[in-house]
Assembly symmetry: C2
């Protein structure tokens, strides 16, 4: 077996983690692989900052072309993140017939179809285990281990920042803003947390999981995305009363070829494995026809966990290179000619159970008027929690309901009507409930 | 890509599951693989019983040699279980240069070293994902996804029967015998449950995980094994009071080259992911230097889940065959020349926290005498629960303690001494507590 030479672009946190593994775990890796992974070059604009990892002299360069197109480099790792120049660099590496490993979900969610086509055209590998759920080997599991299964659904907690915030809000009854602030202080949330808390990062990852599971093109635009910024402490209290937890879930389902792909806060029964995933941890729950339910849990972000996934990919590609067997696994699990545009169910057509919290003026007639409107839209109520019960116009009380399964469009129509009522004090809050994951 | 021909030996429950997947999911498999997996022959002594799966005419045979050594069969699946004739059949298939897939942990735990040597000598693959934790892809994860990591520990709930019994005993406060009986009625326990409840099945699986994680030969005899038959309902009640759950854990740890491999009932903090695995489900918890903690959860037994793992192996080997790349992954994760006999720590030298339940005559002096003996053996008490407290000789009361970390041999010496005391009414019960998994 020949040694495999690695070039790294982007010497940030994850890049430093990858360098650390390649330099410190080189012996244990070669004891498995039977060859050496040699870190030949690291390209970054900043070659002076100390990243806490000592790399051999002469490896660091500001010149990306010492990696891309360098015939001595077999595999290029892209860890700069974002769209540009990452996209250009990955394309150039692929077109130089260098295999690529990336952790860049934003890039793949938006440009994955064309990048994978370029990988295919050049007969090389583009691996991306680290792009979904950090160190958890969910891509390998879907592409390889579950190859005998028809996958019915893939649901995940894919953003550690959101899961940390929701866990703390639930445990401490604290406000979103307050918990976000402490998460930022602890380094669990970015200074600008928009991508995380608005669900966009989760949706990038779901776009990849959906394609992998259902043999569809990557289609970020088809994913319905809601973030966690509107959830109130009171919702956690009611969730607990119903026996549920609130999680930001990525949900992909396939019912007879009709695909649902959505990211939104979700109440799940507290006995469900996904309800038991706390703090910054990620997990992916897969329902497959033969295997049944399975769950994969670990750190979805962070220097070393993410680097672990990158190095796993390097070892796989090294094995492919050494046996002249690149393209061993199709990029998106299915042979390229099997991948079609997805047939997505519009959000208005999904059905779900719903948690609904009305802010009502405390009038005795409230409940019957709300229930009447819901009924007229074919929404049937499973249970109600009404606090207070006087007849004062000044007091606002929450009325909380759990519905049976209903169509989203019916729910929206009913709430549009209800929110016009003079007895309603504030826009009604809704959280979808899932008990069939 | 050419089609790959499969021969199955053993048409029992799992065998029927494999046939079902190969026949019913053939299209989705070939859409991933780019080739067909063709089930050519099924050998079983009983070719008349209806297994609930319709196989094509002419496939069933009582003649095992229509599978083994048949040049038309590329991969042989062994699903008869047990040592013989499974061992002979697997050996003959390997020596006929047919790759083999097996779910037989007993066989591999005892004869794995020589069978893998035969696979290597013949240049073919012997895959065994289904032999540990059923459908959970833990072998693939350890051999491939975590290739960049040094693995510190692997701990698992690997026997669904035991986990079902322990879950029910904990939930319902019922006796072992009582719950076993209901498990047998539900089909969750065998008529003769010895292999399961005595921890032997779990130890077979741990023997494989230990070798995979730590580059050691498979050594079933090195594993300390205790079953679950002595746990009493009262132990669950005290565990709850301490904030712990009781699970039958398989534990493999590597501290600077010194290996611990043991199977025994274990109290684990209720917040730990392994404490959250209920009923017949299995899970494996891995602690690795880069990835950190990760967990893999699913059905550890059963027709279709186990068959899913078998078919995952078939697809992998088919890819290897089609690219002339058998032996892509070393059998036990490490290159063969890296595998050494394990350096095992004897049980007497392990250290652990302990839950100890004394059955004492209710005398005021009891606690001080017990504590004195524990102290003289360097065992320090973290907390005590003593119920009752009178001075009647006739009454037996439990005294329950949680110790700080102590050496097993010190604990055993102390208990030998304590159990001789006239104030002790019955042998003392001990359950190890693990909070550092």
């Amino acid at each position: 077996m020949k040694n495999i030479n690695i070039g790294l672009i982007g010497f940030g946190t994850i890049g430093a983690g990858v360098a650390k593994i390649l330099l410190e775990n080189d012996k244990i890796i070669s004891r498995r692989l039977g060859a050496q992974l040699e870190l030949k070059k690291i390209a970054d604009l900043d070659v002076t900052t100390d990243r806490g990892v000592k790399v051999p002299d002469g490896i660091l360069t500001t010149e990306v072309n010492e990696v891309i197109g360098n015939p001595e480099i077999d595999i290029v790792i892209e860890l700069i993140g974002g769209y540009e120049p990452a996209r250009t660099f990955v394309e150039r590496a692929l077109n130089s017939r260098q295999s690529v490993v990336t952790a860049n979900k934003a890039l793949l969610a938006k440009f994955g179809n064309e990048l994978f086509a370029a990988a295919k055209a050049n007969g090389i590998d583009l691996y991306y285990e680290a792009s979904v759920a950090g160190g958890i080997p969910i891509i390998k599991t879907l592409r390889e281990a579950l190859a005998g299964n028809r996958i019915n659904s893939v649901c995940g907690i894919l953003n550690g920042t959101c899961n940390y915030i929701l866990t703390k809000m639930g445990d401490e009854g604290a406000d979103f803003a307050e918990v976000l602030k402490s998460a930022q202080e602890l380094g669990y949330a970015e200074a600008d947390p928009t991508f995380d808390v608005e669900g966009i990062d989760t949706a990038h990852k779901l776009a990849l999981l959906t394609a992998l599971a259902f043999a569809t093109e990557i289609d970020f635009a088809a994913i319905h995305v809601e973030g966690i910024t509107n959830i109130k402490p009171v919702d956690f209290a009611f969730a607990r009363e119903f026996g549920y937890k609130i999680k930001l879930l990525a949900i992909a389902k396939n019912e007879a070829g009709r695909i649902e792909a959505r990211v939104h806060p979700t109440m799940i029964p507290k006995e469900h494995m996904l309800a038991k995933i706390d703090d910054v941890f990620n997990a992916v729950f897969v329902n497959a026809d033969a295997l049944g339910p399975s769950l994969y849990y670990g750190q979805g972000a962070g220097m070393m966990a993410t680097a672990s996934a990158v190095v796993g990919d390097l070892v796989d590609i090294a094995r492919n290179l050494n046996s002249d067997n690149l393209r061993r696994i199709p990029d998106l699990s299915f042979q390229e000619n099997q991948i079609k545009p997805g047939n997505y169910r519009p959000m208005s057509e999904i059905s779900s159970q719903y948690y609904i919290r009305f802010s009502a003026h405390d009038k005795t007639s409230v409940l019957s008027r709300i229930a009447g409107i819901l009924g007229s839209h074919n929404i049937s109520i499973a249970s109600v929690i009404q606090q207070g019960g006087g007849d004062g116009d000044a007091v606002t009380v929450p009325i909380v309901m759990q519905t049976h399964k209903a169509l989203e469009k019916n729910l929206r129509a009913a709430l549009d009507e209800i929110d016009q009522l003079d007895i309603i004090a504030a826009p009604t809050a809704v959280i979808r409930m899932e008990s069939e994951l």
